[in-house]
């Protein structure tokens, strides 16, 4: 009796997990398949065609938006990882760990509140909205993620290695660049990837803080979905899926999971 129950629950578990994977992947599969469909009206399959990809490549607005997104993503990655690293090293060295708490609200406060707060700040000081105002917001989000990730790794380091380096005559600068940085590499890569993806994925801050002149990929996709279903969006989605699967492969292969979760 016990054995039968055990088997039954195992089978139920297997079914449940398979169902979950199907739930995740069927929509994506349909999305990809219809990017190769011949006709515009996208709900039934007619025949294979590259047409929508050709259209995607000649639509200059998409590439402008993608370029903007890349600029914003790269700048916020560089800013938040650099600032985060400096802050972590400084606060750990001076035993000011409690200051880390100042950055936790970035993760806890709903994004829309951060976005609206920044917007009212910009309005008050008449700051023109555009890519820089957007980078500011994304760097804030980035700091919220970068600091805990780098902090966890830095404090797991054997501090005696750093002391040994200093004792053996290396300067602080040398110790930082030759000992600390290489040891933190996996955490830095993980943080950078995560922040880049977050920046690409973000809609709310872009929606409020980018103004009407700067178009990011998220805003463009939103406008396109609003105006109706077009297979060009499917083609774009397929391309982005390919890119993100490459990034996931990097993420999993640098073995950085344990630094984050």
């Amino acid at each position: 009796m016990h054995k039968i129950l055990q088997r039954l629950s195992n089978a139920a578990l297997a079914v449940w997990v398979t169902g979950a994977y199907l739930f995740l992947y069927v929509p994506l599969l349909v999305l990809v398949v219809f990017s190769f469909n011949k006709i515009t009206f996208p709900y039934h399959w007619v025949g294979f065609s590259w047409h929508w990809y050709q259209e995607l490549f000649v639509t200059s607005e998409i590439w402008e938006a993608a370029q903007n997104s890349l600029i914003v993503g790269a700048s916020s990655v560089v800013l938040s990882v650099t600032f985060g690293l400096l802050f972590v090293v400084w606060s750990s060295r001076n035993n000011k760990h409690y200051l880390m708490g100042a950055f936790y609200p970035n993760l806890v406060v709903p994004e829309i509140v951060i976005a609206v707060g920044l917007l009212s700040f910009y309005i008050f000081f008449n700051v023109p909205l555009g890519l820089p105002s957007l980078i500011v917001g994304h760097t804030l989000l980035g700091l919220g993620y970068a600091i805990p990730i780098i902090y966890t790794r830095y404090n797991a380091l054997d501090q005696r290695i750093i002391e040994a380096s200093l004792d053996l005559g290396a300067t602080d600068r040398q110790t930082f660049f030759k000992i600390v940085l290489p040891l933190l590499r996996s955490a830095l890569v993980a943080a950078a990837l995560l922040i880049f993806i977050l920046s690409l994925d973000d809609f709310l801050i872009a929606f409020f803080c980018a103004g009407s002149s700067a178009q990011t990929l998220s805003l463009y996709i939103f406008a396109m979905i609003r105006s109706g279903v077009s297979p060009v969006v499917n083609a774009l989605a397929t391309l982005m899926l390919v890119v993100s699967s490459l990034l996931v492969m990097v993420f999993c292969s640098v073995k950085v999971k344990e630094d984050i979760w």
């Binding site: 994977y21 219809f34 996208p42 802050f87 000011k96 200051l99 709903p110 760097t139 804030l140 492969m249």
Partner: protein, 286 residues
């Protein structure tokens, strides 16, 4: 050595991050709070303190909107937990081979723009989408079911987009979970259900809490998914904020509503926390 370490890891290292955080996070939040109390008279261009915007929020329509956002967030948390818990358990404890690949497959969809994930559901839910086509083909229904622009579609989209926030903390909790405890519990005569409620659930509760919080907070402010899949039928907190800030450009009223909703969220989480603490104490006493 300690002295030397101090000279280079000097105060200047910590300044950029701190300055950025203060200037662009704390100061704007204070601004938000301040503008919510300011009334500007257009004719004289003089601003003065006023509680008028908060008084305007006493309209019951705002309560309905808050309750609606709260319900949607709660439904999202529950459905995410229901899907994610068994999957995280299975992946962390039952799988030996291909663990990395299966895990990568699980997080892969969420490294794409979430708007594209929402868009994908159009193809399934439309009247001539995949689900209706399949059901019609196999004869389960005779006419297409209307699924787009319903509450069900909104819940489905929310579940789909917020799943990883629940999955990842649960997965890491199960990774640290000692499976021998389950064996011990069974050897000592507990039934499967008892093992689940008395051993597994209490030990994974921290992961559940983290996941629930990570889903609940952003889901509470969400308005894009409801507007895309629910067809702008009903307003959510996020849509009201957007309306005041970007459409009618009434920054003060928008700020008041934002602060009010944030306070509501904090209050709600505080009540949950207190209830939990009380429950814990009673359990200890009993």
């Amino acid at each position: 050595m300690a002295r030397r370490a101090k000279t280079v890891h000097s105060f200047f290292w910590g300044i950029p991050a701190f300055l950025w955080q203060t200037l662009f996070f704390y100061v704007p939040l204070c601004f938000l709070l301040a503008t919510s109390f300011v009334k500007r008279v257009p004719s004289t261009k003089i601003s003065h303190f006023s509680l008028e915007h908060y008084a305007a929020l006493l309209d019951p329509i705002y309560m309905v909107i808050l309750a609606r956002s709260l319900t949607l967030a709660a439904i999202t948390v529950c459905s995410c937990l229901l899907i994610a818990y068994p999957v995280a358990y299975f992946l962390a404890l039952r799988v030996q081979r291909f663990k990395t690949i299966l895990f990568a497959l699980l997080i892969l969809p969420f490294w794409t723009n979430f708007l594209l994930l929402v868009y994908a559901w159009y193809f399934l839910l439309e009247n001539n989408g995949l689900i209706n086509t399949m059901l019609l083909k196999f004869g389960f229904i005779s006419a297409p079911i209307h699924m787009m622009n319903t509450y069900g579609a909104v819940c489905c989209g929310m579940l789909y987009c917020y799943l990883p926030f629940m999955l990842l903390p649960l997965y890491s909790t199960f990774e640290r979970f000692d499976e021998r405890l389950l064996e011990a519990s069974r050897d000592l005569g507990a039934t499967g259900w008892q093992t689940f409620t008395r051993v597994m659930l209490p030990l994974t509760l921290p992961g559940i809490k983290t996941g629930a919080l990570l889903v609940f907070i952003p889901a509470f402010g969400e308005f894009v998914i409801p507007s895309l899949l629910g067809g702008d039928k009903s307003m959510y907190i996020g849509s009201v904020i957007t309306h005041y800030f970007l459409t009618v450009r009434n920054v003060s009223l928008g700020s008041a509503f934002t602060c009010f909703s944030a306070l509501f969220l904090i209050f709600f989480l505080f009540i949950l926390f207190m209830a939990h603490a009380l429950l814990n104490r009673e359990q200890k006493n009993a």
